[in-house]
């Protein structure tokens, strides 16, 4: 199993540009999450999904959108990039809603100039 994969690894965007961060998992996990991690800080939940077709906002959803058309994929969309969105983005998944390990992808480093 590849686990949780994310693409791209690194991206530079200009202010106002759009992009989609890809996340996929091959563990048949129902629950998936998007976090952002600013330098020297903890992780903040952006959006999460409890299954295909179901998504909900986390702590810091503004400026982002998500979709979950399949169990495997959970892309994160930035519509109008702003410097405040410069961060490292992690996708994670877990198998159930109970207290359980979250498996993280390797992250996408985004720089908005």
């Amino acid at each position: 199993n590849a686990g949780v994969t994310q693409t791209p690894k690194f991206r530079i965007l200009k202010i106002g540009q759009s992009m989609t961060l890809q996340c996929a998992q091959d563990m048949n996990h129902n629950y998936m999450y998007w976090y952002r991690q600013d330098p020297g800080m903890g992780l903040k939940l952006i959006y999460y999904s409890v299954g295909a077709g179901i998504t909900d906002k986390g702590e810091v959803p503004n400026g982002y959108n998500v979709s979950r058309s399949t169990t495997e994929d959970f892309p994160l969309r930035l519509e109008l990039a702003a410097p405040s969105q410069t961060s490292v983005y992690f996708c994670a998944s877990t198998g159930s809603g109970g207290p359980e390990t979250q498996y993280f992808g390797p992250g996408t480093r985004l720089l908005v100039l």
């Binding site: 903890g42 809603g97 359980e100 390990t101 979250q102 993280f104």
Partner: protein, 112 residues
């Protein structure tokens, strides 16, 4: 909203010294998880505590969950250079979503 704080933010130790990081939640937690993130890497799960007063050990690491389920600690005995990284606690509020609130993290530096 719910907050999870960790202290210290940074700790520098000599190899062989002990290390402890403390985690405090503003609300009662259903469970607490600990993750380690190596520099430039992603968080990796270490352990989960669910019961009030629970203590778990993994080799040189000892994890505790407070009686009131609002605080937790991670203690490393005789640190090694491989222990370098940021240690995060993450509190689960219960419910059906397994959402976690991550602490601010403690960066551990170990000097050989």
């Amino acid at each position: 909203g719910q907050q999870v704080m960790q202290i210290p933010q940074y700790q520098h130790v000599q190899e062989g010294e002990d290390f402890t990081t403390y985690c405090n939640s503003s609300t009662t937690l259903s469970n607490i998880q600990w993750y380690k993130q190596r520099p430039g890497g992603h968080p990796v799960f270490l352990i989960q505590l669910v019961k009030s007063g629970e203590v778990k050990k993994q080799k040189r690491l000892t994890f505790q969950f407070g009686e009131a389920k609002k605080n937790s600690s991670l203690h490393i005995t005789a640190t090694q250079t491989t222990d370098v990284g940021t240690y995060f606690c993450a509190g689960g509020g219960g419910g059906a979503t397994n959402k976690l609130i991550f602490g601010t993290g403690t960066l551990l530096a170990v000097q050989p």
